[in-house]
């Protein structure tokens, strides 16, 4: 059975305080948007609160998660990967097996249903980097009979071509964004411009735990089904090791799979939470998307409506980022991660392109699972964890998506059998 979304309202100490009524996670978060959008954000706060307490809505969402998305997704004991490292027992939370191939569907379906049922809006715009959120949104819109426009940078359209085709098959209008870095950041700019123009009948279905309040909290709530399921599966000896994990690892782009995985474990003090950012070509190269790891460029700033760590130049212009994975290639990070890091409740490390490719190959060979390049960052970081853990430890990895979309990129980098 799908873990009830009711649990969202069993607010713990942490959740009661964050975000506050202004959408702040301590010094992070907020609502830095043009005045035109304020009414839409206020409306969204209302429907988010209404939806979560609405019995019919919860029943419908839970039923879709179960019968359409295929939840709960399995917990897999990665025996050969465990053997390979000769260290802790490794478990994988299999979001790659959710319908459309990534965790993004949890959020897309939840928001689309909220907006359709409670707000009555019928047009949705979204941004996408890897294309996974775009595909998830196009899917939710097809299912719920809504109009869908997806903005995507030209660079990302080229490197995630299969997902562009999938979105179009699903009936979405995919619009190419050729301004700026032609990646996720620019797609978000364009989606926001569309939203400002069409706000009375349009919902902006933001794909990560980013942006102005209430998006970070709403996306976290919709994604925390990942962590709730994983926690129960870990504790239950028939589905997992019968204990809590010692370490939880997730990749962090905007931070939605990570916050969805972390949040239900935040009040378990013995569980180490580790986020892995995209180290690109290395921190010194300045071609990366590791907001927390680069003290020179990664500083407190405001981008896309929220205050958080932002990669920027000395004049406050947003930096161009690089990652081999389109979904992690973004200059800012969800505000709640910045707070978890300040509180030393979660730690953040990075994994370079090269390490991610090694993780990608490793998971293919050892477990027969082709991961998304985003998720491969969590796997690729595991070798660094090994010196820090003992063999009785248990490690839980968020396998946020599958890698079919990345085959072209990986083919260009690796030759099989080498």
């Amino acid at each position: 059975m799908v873990d009830q979304i009711d649990a969202i309202f069993q607010a713990d100490d942490y959740g009661v305080h964050y975000p506050d009524s202004r959408g702040r996670f301590g010094p992070y978060g907020g609502k830095y948007v043009p005045e035109t959008l304020i009414p839409a954000l206020e409306e969204l706060e209302d429907i988010h609160a209404t939806a979560m307490q609405d019995e019919d809505f919860r029943t419908e969402l839970n039923s879709l998660l179960e019968t359409y998305v295929g939840r709960p997704t399995p917990l897999t004991h990665a025996r050969r990967l465990t053997e390979h490292f000769g260290g802790p027992e490794i478990y994988l939370k299999r979001e790659d097996l959710a319908h459309t191939g990534a965790h993004k569907i949890n959020n897309a379906l939840g928001q689309a249903l909220m907006v359709k049922r409670i707000l009555g809006k019928n047009r949705v715009v979204a941004e996408t980097g890897a294309g996974q959120h775009g595909v998830a949104t196009a899917t939710a819109c097809a299912l719920l009979d809504m109009e869908c426009v997806v903005y995507m940078g030209s660079v990302d359209m080229a490197r995630q071509a299969p997902n562009v085709f999938r979105m179009r098959l699903l009936g979405a209008d995919v619009r190419e964004v050729s301004s700026g870095s032609q990646t996720l950041k620019d797609a978000i700019n364009e989606a926001i411009r569309d939203w400002v123009t069409n706000v009375p009948d349009t919902h902006y279905l933001l794909g990560s735990a980013l942006g102005p309040h209430p998006f970070p909290v709403m996306v976290r709530n919709l994604q925390s089904v990942i962590g709730r399921e994983a926690r129960r599966q870990m504790l239950d000896p028939s589905t997992g090791p019968g204990q809590l994990p010692d370490v939880v690892v997730a990749c962090v782009g905007g931070g939605s799979n990570a916050i969805g995985m972390f949040y239900p474990f935040v009040m378990d003090p013995g569980v180490r939470l580790v986020g892995v950012e995209a180290g690109g070509r290395g921190i010194d190269s300045h071609e990366h998307a590791a907001r927390f790891a680069d003290p020179k460029m990664g500083r407190l700033g405001v981008l896309h409506g929220t205050r958080s760590y932002v990669l920027q130049d000395e004049d406050g212009q947003i930096a161009l980022t690089h990652s081999i994975s389109a979904g992690l290639d973004y200059a800012s990070v969800g505000p709640e991660h910045a707070l978890l890091r300040d509180r030393e409740r979660a730690e953040y490390f990075y994994c370079t392109d090269e390490q991610a490719l090694a993780g990608f190959e490793l998971l293919c060979r050892q477990e027969g699972i082709i991961p998304a390049l985003e998720s491969a960052h969590a796997v690729g970081w595991l070798p660094e964890l090994m010196s820090d853990v003992s063999s009785d430890d248990v490690v839980l990895v968020s396998l946020s998506g599958r890698g079919d979309k990345d085959l072209d990129t990986v083919m260009a980098e690796l030759s099989p059998g080498h």
Partner: protein
């Protein structure tokens, strides 16, 4: 006089049933740094009452294609926050006395340090700020610092604004209230929306602070229409477009004259 007072007085000088202040927006560093200075000087001669001096930002999400392209060019020209401040200083040194508002997204200000930014802006000759992604909900810090320096922090309203938002913004905005005439980004538009008269009346009913209308105003006729309902007409994209041709300087000057005539009622 404080910056707020200079802005209020420049607007008051033009206030009337069919007249209003003309306020051009122009991006510093576009098409080049010296040309942007020259164009603002020529607009001052042509009848501009106040200036909005644009600071470029890499991610201008409230701007349409015209201003996006212009500010992108300014960044490619190497314009830094410091250069934009220096441009204001240069205009002051050249004898331009009209009030200046800095139009900047929040991150470059936040990065510069709001207090230091305000200090340097005062020194450069600025009178106020317009920050499109800083609603009053997030503006307290900036607001307090501006109050101490006597500078205006202009907040915006939009056609989507509720009664409560109108009350909040009119009670907090200093200098004037910037009324965005349409849902959408900046950009020249063929006509002004039908609801504009009612919208302006609704906002003005709430406040003594002047109400200036921007987004979409692009010719003398529209400037005159705005002048008959509001206290100021703000024009950006149309001037930027005019500047972007082979005879940019002349085109800007003649459009500015037309807009000033429209706004000033002759």
């Amino acid at each position: 006089m404080t910056g707020v007072e200079r802005i209020r007085s420049a607007i008051a000088n033009r206030q009337g049933d069919t007249t209003a202040a003309f306020m051009p927006y122009f991006p510093s560093g576009f098409p080049s740094r010296p040309e942007s200075v020259a164009m603002m000087r020529s607009m001052a001669d042509a009848g501009a009452d106040l200036f909005e001096i644009g600071f470029p930002f890499s991610d201008p999400l409230a701007d349409g294609p015209t201003i996006q392209a212009a500010t992108h060019r300014a960044l490619l020209n190497g314009m830094k926050t410091r250069d934009c401040l220096d441009i204001a200083k240069e205009l002051r040194d050249a004898g331009i006395t009209q009030p200046f508002c800095a139009m900047s997204y929040y991150n470059p200000i936040f990065n510069y340090g709001p207090d230091r930014f305000i200090e340097d802006a005062v020194r450069a000759g600025f009178d106020g700020f317009i920050i499109p992604d800083l609603p009053p909900d997030e503006g307290q810090e900036m607001e307090e610092a501006c109050r101490e320096a006597g500078l205006a922090l202009v907040y915006l309203l939009a056609p989507s604004s509720s009664r409560e938002r109108i009350e909040l913004v009119t009670s907090r905005s200093t200098g004037f209230v910037y009324l965005v005439s349409v849902l959408g980004t900046t950009g020249a538009r063929a006509s002004l929306p039908d609801y504009l008269t009612d919208l302006v009346a609704q906002v003005r009913a709430d406040t003594d602070t002047p109400v200036c209308v921007g987004f979409g105003v692009s010719n003398g006729v529209q400037a005159a229409q705005v002048a008959s309902i509001a206290d100021g007409a703000i024009v950006g994209s149309a001037l930027v477009k005019a500047a972007d041709g082979p005879d940019g300087a002349d085109a800007v000057k003649s459009l500015a004259r037309e807009l000033a005539r429209g706004a000033h009622g002759h």
